[in-house]
């Protein structure tokens, strides 16, 4: 892409190059819907580009971006739960139908079952737990980076991670047993 001397454009180019797929993947695993993840990724850029001049380099660019992505995801959950969503849900055929609008992405559906189960079991985690699991394992951020992105202490990251793994393990076990009995 060509910067054409436009500073916003060149910042975008750089951020896109370095982090786009990471941020997108984080959002996709968070909201589990490709279109929504695409929209939210754009929102991340808008917030970042508006705030870029305020970025003080206190945290790393990467963790800063993830912290914004996390806020964007959380805001979207909160907005979703607003009255608009409630009306939409009411007028849908059943909640089942709503769920079917977020099918397992092709990339995961083609893979071994365990990944599909994990993808489903993520729903049983709290939002914080899900964030930590995605950051730590799927995005491979370190404990320190995760703590920085979330503005948490490292011990809080560790505790949340521990709890999240416990939830996932329990749900996975149940799911595997159920599938095994079929």
């Amino acid at each position: 892409m060509n910067g054409e001397g436009n500073p916003v454009n060149s910042i975008f180019d750089e951020l896109y190059e370095k982090y786009h797929q990471d941020v997108f993947q984080f959002l996709f695993y968070m909201v589990k819907n490709r279109e929504q993840a695409e929209d939210l990724a754009q929102e991340v850029y808008i917030r970042v580009l508006k705030a870029y001049k305020n970025f003080e380099g206190k945290s790393s660019e990467k963790t800063w971006l993830f912290s914004i992505a996390r806020n964007v995801a959380i805001d979207s959950f909160r907005k979703q739960k607003g009255w608009k969503q409630r009306i939409i849900e009411k007028f849908d055929w059943s909640t089942q139908q709503v769920k079917d609008m977020n099918p397992i992405p092709e990339e995961i559906a083609m893979e071994r079952e365990e990944y599909q189960y994990i993808y489903q079991c993520l729903d049983h985690c709290t939002i914080d737990q899900r964030i930590v699991i995605i950051m730590r394992y799927i995005q491979e951020l370190s404990i320190a980076e995760t703590a920085e992105a979330l503005n948490w202490t490292e011990s809080k990251v560790k505790t949340t991670q521990h709890r999240a793994l416990k939830v996932l393990k329990k749900e996975m076990q149940e799911l595997l047993e159920k599938e095994g009995n079929r």
Binding site: Y29, L49, K50, K79, F91, Y115, Q173
Partner: protein
Amino acid sequence: MKKISDEQLEEWLREMPKLKDHRDPHDIYENISKKLEERPRKPWIIPSFATAAAVFLMAILSFNLFDGASINHSADKSTQEEAATEQNTSLKKEESTVENEARMDVGNEENSTEMNDITFQATEDPTTAIYAEDLGAMQVFTLAIPDSQVQNIIPVSFLIEPSGQADQLAHIEEVMTSIDEQEWGLDDFYPLEADFAIDANNSTLNVNVAADHPYQNGSASIPFLNAIQHLLLNLNLEKAIFTTNETEKGMSTGHDFITEKVVEKKSNLAFYLFYPSHEAIKPYLVPFTESYSTIEEAFNAMKTNVDTHNLIAPLLVEQISSVAIDETNNRVNITLNQGINIEDTPETTQSIEAILLTAQSFGFEKVKFINAPIDTLGRFSLQEDIQVPIAANKKSID
């Protein structure tokens, strides 16, 4: 079935497939530059029209999808009605947003290019408490409502028309009957199974329960007594006297037998964020049971979640580098760490509220933030003195 080991689970997690964005970066850039250029617009107009239109269409397509009773007769008539009501509510919402905007815009104007003036900013005011400017001629009263796990007692506040003590009690009892706590993600606790009468001469609230009343064990009697305390505070009474079956003195609370309770205002509390498991847009700001001798201690405690009670540490508290008390102005000066990033999100605004409510609980009137990297956060102007709220967790009653 073999057990999954932690290692196995962690390995699977690390191997989770990569999910990629296949869009052309040019298209993404196009989309965001359009949004960046867009002037902030009245955020409700389009969604409300779209909703009205969607409601209309959905109604035509299949009116039996509505689970409300209003759409039973003629499809045509009812759709029109529905759309009309929808538009009405949107209009009301629009009005209130305009009001909110006006309030929030005061501080925002000068830095409209800053990050906190963002077109997709949540349209709803994220604050949860009642502030002096919300009060008008109304009066505040607070009910203590347990959360759905009966772990936390959440102070929920309402605005009512001012009235005399007796009327006020009638009003409060009416509210107790009409609220749907479960809809708010809380425990179905009210109305209380007790009769109340005010003895104004003795500044007393007489509380009568039946012999088989439901507050006879610890977990139920604590919120009950808490509710009574809030009633005393609301009604400005000094004590509650308990009777059973109208005639017998006192009431049993399981392990205890109480005859009277003197009003007691809990103060010096630390406020946390509590997200009910039920769908709710905003968290509740909830004081933990512990009292602290200084506000610094309270802030220190607020740096960590109270995991046993699902109370979440407010943001920003961890960034407090020092706290000073300005006694002349009854103000807390909070110095934040240099060079921090504050993002204008609902959670940040609510975290500020948690800090303000904590200050209020210690009897302070104002809070001043030093080193705040941005000028405004929601309705708060961070470069000026901020008045503490009047009461936590505002709810309206229709």
